[in-house]
């Protein structure tokens, strides 16, 4: 009996080790073969699209690209992966820090080890790098969408869709998040230039699409003339769209959604969503690797680069060249 158990044990461990051994190996950083590591915030289509852009630039520049994703948006998840990447000592670390405060010290560790740090999509400290001020100015560059501008783009698109008059409001995740706060701020700023549009109080749904749908119903009950909703992130947008549909107001209440998650093309075609503001994660990944290569070659790189937006709606969603702006897995 013992022999059987031992035999099975050994078989199992052999299989486990063989499985590990069969996985691909990797070269290491030296002068001729630079290594760039990409550590995004969490596993989702936005970051995988970023990875595809980074992959293309890495192929063009002949650098090796390491890619590891945390399974949840949490410092406790991101830091151990970061430490293991530091141990591999890539030349450049491209990272989307999950917290602007808590990730300062762990990223400083990378910088102190001689790894060049560039943050992509999110930032540490106040996002102003290479200023010589504060303890979070050490990253070389911040490459991302300008969310304030994204909010303005959304506001302009919505104003146009509703004929520059009527009542609208923002459906948002929760206050205190730099990206969505900036989108709402940009939206409000831009709407001030449209005197015939009335903007109601912003509603917070804490990333619960059900709650966002309920908000739309409640706002509609009080303001039957509602003309448009701006969902400042994915869940806010899909919840708001569902709420508008349930109320039977599809087409009458225009829905603008931030981000172009997979499937957004069908939602726009079916009229569930009217407008999507797509960020360009592919470009973020692409330009981040380009910036990394410049930094490796000792070139000076700008401390901030914004990657812009694309407005998707019924008029252009069927064009083949628009498909690349929809995030993919």
């Amino acid at each position: 009996m013992l022999r059987i158990v031992l035999g099975r044990l050994m078989a199992l461990s052999t299989i486990a080790l063989a499985a590990l051994g069969a996985l691909p190996g990797v070269a290491h950083a030296d002068a001729a073969h630079p290594v760039v590591a990409l550590l995004p915030g969490v596993t989702d289509p936005f970051y995988f699209t970023m990875y595809h852009g980074a992959e293309r630039a890495a192929k063009e520049e002949h650098v090796q690209l390491l890619f590891q994703v945390p399974k949840a948006w949490n410092t406790t998840e991101q830091v151990p992966i970061l430490k293991a990447l530091i141990a591999k000592h890539p030349d450049v670390l491209l990272v989307s820090p999950v917290d602007k405060q808590q990730m300062i010290a762990p990223l400083k560790e990378a910088a102190d080890a001689g790894i060049k740090v560039i943050t992509v999509d999110t930032f540490i400290g106040d996002g102003h790098y290479q200023t010589g001020k504060g303890d979070a100015d050490f990253p070389l560059s911040y490459i991302a969408s300008d969310n304030l501008e994204g909010g303005r783009v959304a506001a302009r698109a919505l104003a146009k869709a509703i004929g520059d008059k009527g009542t609208v409001y923002c459906e948002d995740n929760k206050p205190g998040i730099s990206s969505t706060d900036a989108r709402v701020q940009g939206f409000m700023d831009e709407m001030k230039k449209h005197p015939n549009i009335k903007v109601l109080e912003t509603q917070y749904n804490e990333d619960d699409a059900n709650r966002a749908a309920a908000h739309v119903a409640a706002v509609l009950a009080r303001n039957p003339d509602l003309a448009g909703v701006f969902g400042a992130n994915t869940f806010s947008g899909s919840g708001a769209a569902q709420g508008v549909k349930t109320a039977g107001k599809q087409g009458k209440v225009k829905v603008v959604v931030f981000d172009a998650v997979p499937g957004i093309d069908e939602k726009i075609s079916s009229g569930l969503v009217d407008i999507a503001i797509a960020q360009r994660p592919y470009d973020m990944g692409y330009y981040a690797v380009k910036a990394a290569v410049d930094a490796i070659h000792g070139k000076k790189i700008p401390a901030y680069r914004s990657t812009g937006f694309v407005v998707l709606d019924k008029s252009n969603i069927d064009m083949p060249e628009m498909k690349v702006y929809i995030y993919s897995n």
């Binding site: 158990v5 044990l9 051994g21 998840e77 591999k88």
Partner: protein
């Protein structure tokens, strides 16, 4: 089946986590030598990173070991840790940068976090609520309390020299090691430890043997909450900010560490050293797979297989023991 063979089988089930940890280290070491021409183990930075990665879930797992040995489970520890992380930040901020404020803020944090432990104790030891349900309720309560305590944002930044010292370099690892050694002593060498095994093995006979089971269970859930609180304090010290969701991913890791370490969820078995090995296995896999450039999702599969194998070995032993 003679006794000698059974003894040997019992030995296998005892040493297999050690063997597996050894095999992992050898594998990563060989890999690092061959393809990167450097050492995996004999590298202070790697050891420190693995130590830090293991110590966070380990602090929860030490308390969890005691709970699981009594055939219970504590699902609330993850968010109690988050609550502690936020509380220690909030309590330390009014005192400014002086380390002396910690004399007050740390005990106060532990005290606050003993409340969920106390309620768990009342529910499970006094009112007979199943541990899974009682602590699941407290999971929600601690989660809400942590986010409320954090205010509008999810994280509370704190800048304090004393806290920074507590969170730097090897300090969290050393602190965890000291607490681990002490709790190992308690579980293996004291009457308190014996009672813990007795309650998990057979509560009826524990009562007949004159053990105050209720009071003992009460103490165990307080211990679990206290260790969760320490875990939260160490988190805030390391990252100079407390987060209400700090312990969310730690809960399942802590249970996995205890189970890989040889404890049975039916109670009566398990050791603190086993839990240490269990959490080291998880930390080495997590660090090593990134180090050899394998997608981190393999980590789930490998850890999952390890859990299943350790439970299977445990069952083999029990079945043979029963046939004896």
């Amino acid at each position: 089946m003679n006794d000698k063979r059974l003894d040997r089988l019992a030995l296998v089930s005892k040493v297999w986590p050690w063997l597996f940890l050894g095999a992992l280290l050898v594998f990563f070491e060989v890999w690092a030598r061959i393809s990167a021409h450097r050492s995996f183990i004999f590298n202070a930075y790697n050891l420190q990173s693995i130590g830090l990665a293991a110590s966070a879930p380990l602090l929860l797992a030490i308390g969890q070991t005691f709970v699981i040995v009594t055939a219970g489970i504590d699902l609330s520890v993850g968010f109690v840790m988050g609550l502690a992380a936020v509380c220690v930040a909030q309590f330390t901020i009014p005192g400014g940068g002086s380390p002396w404020v910690l004399v007050l803020s740390i005990p106060l944090t532990i005290l606050v976090c003993l409340i969920p432990g106390f309620v768990n104790g009342v529910l499970i030891a006094r009112l007979g609520v199943p541990a899974f349900i009682g602590t699941l309720g407290m999971y929600g309560v601690a989660r809400g309390a942590g986010f409320l305590a954090a205010g509008s944002g999810m994280t509370v930044a704190v800048d304090n020299a004393g806290l920074a010292w507590l969170g730097q370099g090897w300090t969290p690892v050393v602190l965890t090691a000291v607490l681990l050694a002490f709790m190992h002593f308690v579980l293996s060498q004291t009457k308190f430890g014996q009672y813990t095994y007795a309650i998990g093995g057979n509560p009826q006979s524990a009562v007949r043997a004159g053990i105050n089971v209720r009071r003992h269970l009460f103490a165990i859930y307080l211990i679990a909450a206290a260790f969760a609180a320490i875990g939260g304090i160490v988190y805030t010290a390391r990252f100079a900010a407390g987060a209400a969701n700090a312990g969310e991913p730690m809960l399942l890791d802590s249970i996995a560490a205890v189970v890989i370490g040889g404890a049975s969820l039916f109670g009566g078995t398990g050791t603190v050293i086993g839990t240490l090995i269990g959490s080291l296995i998880i930390a080495v896999i997590e660090f090593g797979l990134v180090f050899i450039d394998v997608n981190a999702f393999w980590q789930f599969i490998v850890v999952g297989v390890v859990i299943i194998v350790s439970v299977l070995i445990d069952q083999y032993k029990d079945r043979l023991g029963g046939a004896q």
